[in-house]
């Protein structure tokens, strides 16, 4: 069996100190908000959450009067590092648009840890990112889950133990990119392309599973792309499918049934509200925007109440960005969607909306046992907000990852600057 983890995480949590935030409103994503509550961070974990917590003698105590704490925000659709700023061809590393099916590529091999967008994301309260290949290809390659921390190498940013994701894309993008160079040229060509790839993957997996069982003769020849797809079929890699239209999502679901894999989440599903029941039944997440739409035909039916409608149908709503700017304000995106729900008589509570930003994307990444809610034992990925996070006037004041304070708006010395920014970017963020 080939090495399943040839680029292992070398992440080490940053130094932390025992910290108590008290007199603060706690949105836990695991139950009702605790008003004027408290949270204890110790040894990188959340040690206690409640109306009060016992503050150890050595604890740094922060008064959170008028402020809120939430779990760290998780963006399950990012291209940070693979489309790094300041952009241009030299840093355009997100689409291996040389063939419509490239399961052999891994996003982490494109990530530039010095992308100045990373610290801006952290300042927006984002503590975990899924970095995906782009959507030019039917099968775009492996994603990677990163902690939003300074690192000299991508391995130092990789979330230990996180499963890989597989990026797939349907609709306009693949047929636009390949329409004039060998295809697919149509949506039916897209579907034929997915199925052909899965047919090969099923065969590859069968050969390897057999050899792994009996070790008879030489091992089958390795193929990087099929290795990834076989891991999807074994349930070890989670599928993230870029798909806007309801009818196409239904077709992608049928393809997953045909070959026996699960789709974890549909990304950009602007028409998710048309099939909320189907998504709920299949247990597939909807990673969506609050209000993007109309920029192409498949995005035409976007409605701002999408999140509220899908949530109402019982499917998992995930506020995603696909955008380095929007990713910094996912709280504001959720707030717009909440208001759109209220307008049509589907009010969304803050207790529910915080899940869209934290525990639901944590689930999409298979990490909901480690992050995404403020519960004792979970990683201390925590954001202290200057006020209600669903207000336009609130910002993250402090951000902790694994209990380490990695961003402090009030202290420029606690604001990470990438190598690139030194000298080039003429100010300290605050």
């Amino acid at each position: 069996m080939p090495n399943a983890d040839p680029f292992p995480s070398t992440y080490v949590a940053f130094p932390s100190r025992t910290t108590v935030i008290r007199n603060v409103n706690v949105l836990t994503a695991a139950g009702p908000m605790i008003r004027n509550g408290a949270i204890l961070l110790r040894n990188g974990k959340i040690a206690a959450v409640g109306a009060t917590v016992d503050a150890p003698a050595d604890a740094l105590v922060i008064d959170g009067a008028g402020k809120y704490v939430t779990p760290g925000i998780i963006d399950d659709h990012s291209h940070l590092g693979v489309y790094a700023a300041p952009g241009g061809n030299a840093l355009s590393d997100g689409n291996e648009a040389t063939s419509p099916s490239t399961p052999q590529v891994w996003a982490e091999h494109s990530v530039w840890p010095q992308d100045p967008q990373f610290p801006r994301n952290l300042a927006g309260g984002v503590t975990t990112l899924q970095v995906l290949p782009g959507s030019a290809n039917l099968i775009g390659g492996r994603s990677v889950v990163l902690k939003v921390v300074p690192g000299r190498t991508v391995q130092e940013m990789k979330f230990p133990g996180a499963k890989y994701g597989l990026k797939m894309a349907c609709g306009e993008n693949p047929k636009r990119v390949y329409g004039q160079r060998g295809g697919p040229q149509t949506r039916m060509g897209n579907v034929a392309g997915y199925r052909a790839a899965w047919i090969r993957a099923v065969e590859y997996r069968r050969k390897w599973d057999k050899w792994n069982a009996d070790h008879k003769g030489d091992p089958p020849a390795r193929d990087l792309g099929n290795e990834t797809l076989a891991e999807v079929l074994r349930g070890n890699i989670l599928v993230h499918t870029h798909c806007y239209r309801a009818d196409e999502m239904a077709q992608m679901i049928d393809i997953s049934h045909e070959f026996g894999y699960k789709i974890r989440s549909f990304h950009h599903g602007v028409e998710a509200y048309k099939i909320g029941d189907l998504l709920a039944k299949e247990g597939i997440g909807a990673s969506i925007w609050a209000d993007w739409g109309s920029f192409k035909m498949e995005a035409l039916d976007a409605v701002k109440a999408n999140m509220a409608l899908v949530d109402h149908d019982g499917a998992r709503v995930i506020v995603h960005s696909d955008d380095p700017s929007g990713s910094q304000r996912l709280n504001q995106e959720a707030a717009k969607a909440m208001e759109a729900g209220a307008e049509i008589g589907l009010p969304v509570s803050e207790d529910q909306a915080i899940k869209w930003l934290t525990i639901n994307p944590a689930w999409a990444l298979g990490l909901d046992d480690k992050i995404g809610s403020l519960e004792a034992g979970k990683n201390a990925d925590v954001v202290l907000w200057t006020g209600d996070p669903f207000s336009v006037y609130s910002k993250p004041e402090k951000v902790w990852i694994d209990g380490a304070l990695l961003y402090d708006r009030t202290d420029p010395s606690e604001q990470w600057r990438t190598d690139f920014e030194l000298g080039f970017v003429p100010f300290n963020r605050n």
Partner: protein
């Protein structure tokens, strides 16, 4: 709000017909009891705004209500002028990825398209207009894009009818883009300035040698006759030159050129404007920018930061906000996020009053339309919004939107889609009757 079911094509057609039918404008409207922000003056607690025959006729604390007026009780609510987006492609772009719905750019001659009047392509039936108006945008400036000289901009109201009906003022500016020489086939920033200089020189020469030109007795010009004609108001200092540019040194270059030719300059985008804010203020050059972008997205925008708008204002620069929420292809659809841009501007250092001004009176003044829109004063168009609370906050709704004295409550395309899918028979969405 869901009052009827849409479960047949016939019903959908009826609904569409209902949308297209125009409500008659009430003659007189009295908005009472709200906190009124005229913007041109201090806020008025428990104020009244009277709209008569489409125009604002009175604003104040003790204004008599005309007999027979339609009353809107705004107690506990906020009343402002309709918002004005200072730069958008709304109405000239329906679906960004569908080329035949894009009418914001001209090919021009050699990247000069000064004679291009972008409003000729305006689609008053764009389905993106109603969502913008529903969220309190009652006017916007359509700005052409692309090339070196992109064309002429217009300020319009979000009203039904024809382009002529919509226009408040046109042209309001000549638009140029000088930050990216390679995109216009030039070799460097300096050459781009040379090219602009040549155009300005030719315009001035053309202006005084028209007869010779008509007799074909002039040297060849760098631009077509109509482009030169269109540039004359610019060199006369009558029509502002709105230059889209980000790098501080490029802004400075535009300022030098403007000084040399007596051009009325305005900057748009202006990512690094804060770095030379005092110079912009001294030269009284306004900036159209956002407050939701901090990505150093190119070597010309390394200093991009969310504090830009606030820092410029603090230095005394007139600032108008652009509502594209950080940019992106969905700009026309999301011009409705202008209020979010304003809220973020406040969050990053602008005063609340200045932010309100930056989405109302400031753009109206900059584009020479303050006598028509942008504030609540007698004689101005009846563009008024009653908000349920702080207009910049997410929980606030634009409860009443008046444009030229008519309230708009029509359903947007999005409303129709939601109604359809919430009431789809035989699904989870509603119980089968």
């Amino acid at each position: 709000m869901i009052s009827y079911k849409l479960n047949s094509r016939f019903a959908a057609a009826l609904a569409l017909a209902a949308v297209l039918a125009m409500p008659a404008a009430a003659q007189t409207i009295a908005i009472t009891g709200g906190k009124v922000y005229p913007v041109s003056g201090p806020p008025i607690e428990n104020g009244t705004v009277i709209i008569t025959n489409g125009k604002i006729s009175a604003v104040g604390a003790n204004v008599p209500i005309p007999a027979g007026a339609q009353r809107i009780d705004a107690t506990g609510k906020t009343v402002t002028p309709g918002f004005v987006d200072a730069s958008t492609q709304l109405g000239v772009q329906e679906v960004a990825a569908v080329n035949d719905t894009r009418d914001m750019s001209a090919r021009g001659k050699d990247n000069i398209a000064a004679s291009f009047t972008v409003w000729e392509g305006l689609n008053p039936n764009s389905v993106l207009l109603a969502p913008a108006r529903k969220e309190g945008i009652t006017s916007f400036v359509i700005v052409p894009t692309g090339g070196l000289v992109s064309g002429q901009a217009a300020l319009v109201d979000v009203v039904p009818g024809t382009t002529t009906d919509m226009i408040i003022r046109a042209p309001v500016a000549m638009v140029a883009e000088i930050g990216d020489p390679l995109s216009v086939g030039l070799g460097s920033r300096g050459e781009l300035i040379v090219k602009l200089r040549e155009l300005l020189e030719d315009t001035k020469f053309f202006q005084t040698h028209r007869n010779a030109f008509d007799r074909a007795q002039t040297r060849p010009f760098s631009a077509s006759r109509l482009d030169l004609e269109a540039m004359i108001p610019v060199v006369e200092g009558k029509l502002p030159l709105l230059v889209s540019v980000d790098r501080a040194s490029d802004i400075d270059a535009a300022m030098r050129l403007a000084r040399e030719y007596n051009i009325k300059l305005m900057i748009s985008s202006g990512a690094e404007g804060w770095m030379i804010a005092d110079k912009l203020a001294a030269a009284r050059i306004p900036v159209l920018t956002g407050a939701m972008n901090n990505i150093p997205a190119g070597f010309a925008a390394l200093g991009q930061r969310q504090e830009n708008a606030g820092l410029l204002r603090k230095a005394g620069v007139q600032v108008a906000l652009i509502g594209n929420a950080g940019g992106g292809d969905e700009e026309a659809f999301n011009v409705r996020n202008l209020k979010q841009e304003a809220g973020n501007a406040v969050s990053y250092g602008m005063t609340w009053d200045d932010a309100l001004r930056a989405v109302t009176l400031a753009p109206a003044e900059l584009f020479g339309a303050a006598d028509r829109v942008g504030s609540l004063r007698p004689g101005l168009e009846g563009n008024v919004v009653v908000w349920s609370g702080d207009p910049f906050e997410f929980t606030t709704r634009a409860e009443h939107v008046f444009v030229r004295g008519r309230e708009y409550t029509e359903k947007t395309r999005q409303d129709l889609l939601i109604e359809r899918y919430r009431n789809l028979p035989g699904t989870h969405n509603s119980p089968v009757p």
